[in-house]
């Protein structure tokens, strides 16, 4: 683990590497270098992209993009230490007019993940072949997984307001 840390720090500038206890390596990297870093990791043998995720840090008005990588087995029947390692690559992009580069050229299975992030967070991925809706059917003014999306307001506007118990009791009393 610490060898990997030294390796990363010697090759890439502007990078912070933290080794966390349960075989996790957390890498914070500038957004311009993400693509080169991911393809470098793939060449090192970390070729399994488990997850592409996003966290909305609304107070800092930033999105944090997260790529989680691990490795497949080098030999079919033997278990090695390398497979335990999970590398979490993080980068931050501004929240306003969020844009990023697609990583499909490096990892083919990033395609549906990026489609989902485009739909749920409104991040535009340059170079993605089909950024069509994946899961939702309606159009939203604010993409629904952002923190400023008001769920209660949305439900009231779409399905009608449900009166509170007090209001309903009042109505009943007026009727009788």
């Amino acid at each position: 683990m610490n060898e990997l840390k030294k390796k990363f720090e010697s090759i890439f500038n502007n990078i912070t590497v933290n080794v966390v206890e349960d075989n996790r390596i957390v890498v914070n990297i500038k957004k311009d270098e993400v693509l080169t870093f991911l393809s470098y990791l793939k060449n090192l043998g970390y070729e399994h992209l488990s997850l592409v995720s996003c966290v909305d840090w609304i107070n800092k008005s930033e999105f944090e993009l997260i790529y989680i990588l691990s490795s497949y087995m080098a030999k079919d029947e033997e278990y090695q230490e390398k497979e335990k390692t999970k590398i979490i690559v993080k980068t931050r992009i501004p929240r306003k007019e969020a844009r990023f580069i697609t990583v499909i050229n490096v990892f083919e299975n990033a395609e549906p993940y990026e489609r989902e992030l485009h739909e749920m967070f409104g991040i535009y991925f340059e170079g993605h072949p089909r950024l069509t809706p994946l899961l939702l059917e309606r159009d939203y003014e604010i993409p629904p997984f952002r923190k400023d999306f008001d769920m209660q307001n949305y439900v009231d506007n779409t399905y009608g307001k449900i009166p509170s118990i007090k209001e309903r009791k009042k109505e009943q009393n007026e009727r009788t």
Binding site: N23, E47, S50, L51, S53, V55, I68, K86, L135
Partner: protein, 366 residues
Amino acid sequence: MRELKLFYGPQHLGMVGNFSITLKVEGDRIVKADANPGYLHRGFEKLMEQRTWMQNFPLVCRINVVEPDHMELIYSMAVEKLAGIEVPERGKYTRSIFCEMARVASHLFGAWAYANMLGFDTVANWAMYHRDLLLDMFEELTGARVYHVYLRPGGVRRDFPNGFTDKLVKTLHKIGGKVPDYNATFFENSLFKKRAEGIGVVTREEALRMGAVGHTLKATGMKYDIRKIEPYDAYDQVEFNIPTRKNGDAYSRLLAIRDDMIESVHMIFKLIDKMPKKGAVYTKTPNPFKWNIPKGEAYVRCESARGELGLYLVSNGKNKPYRAHFDTPSYNHGLTVLEKALEGESISDVGNIMMSLYVVAPEIDR
């Protein structure tokens, strides 16, 4: 020949679950497939941000209808990692036994769906009956048949009732005794072989490129299993095999699933023998309404019946999660791998291939 656009599912009889595929066909051959999920999207990951850590359990288990227990397991593991809770020894064994039961039940459900779709109704009824026997065991243990909410951060909700393990062994013997019949009528039936052999081949190279896990990978010969790679709970205490096959087609995938089920049954026997006779099954946790979990993030993974299952969970120090993102095995299989595997196959094999990839629609949509 003229190319046609065919909307396959969710109401189509050959489709399994609430899922649809837009096919471009030339005669009977599929030229291009375009998976179209979203019929079961309930936004659980967003809803989880509004509820306390403990209130999320009834939501989490509904992500995968067929095997809710691994969803509970992965969520409890993530919360344990964030809050720094240890599970007592007997709790670990209880959890492992419970999860293996869920795996067997899930594989039986899979066998039902597969057999039912190909018209092997007898086998389908057997599989459903045997799953029901296991659901009875779940009911006795937890009070519920499908959504158990039995696991919790720090262990399990309560200990096994008196005589439960004996009953469980009896039930599993009953199911295991039927395996030769399953083989004769289904798995080694030449009618079934003709439908499944050489269909929907996913080679090793394709599987690695498209991020396949679970049986899709095991059917190409790789023993990729999180229970061995990164043992959690009591899986490092018992010996077990990871069954593999070589060809990578639908038939080898199904045989890998069958062998996995038999292996799980054997593993439950070993776990029951080795389990400590006395001890606590859970660690006490604070009052759930005032339970603030320290700032941080966790990424945990476990092996569900369908393959590697992961959860990325972020806490900002409050009594609710800040962000949760599930990495479910069906997501890759149902979107990336399925589209590739369907190319060049015939329309009648769509459900066949989808079932052999073990895709469950609610897991994709979440």
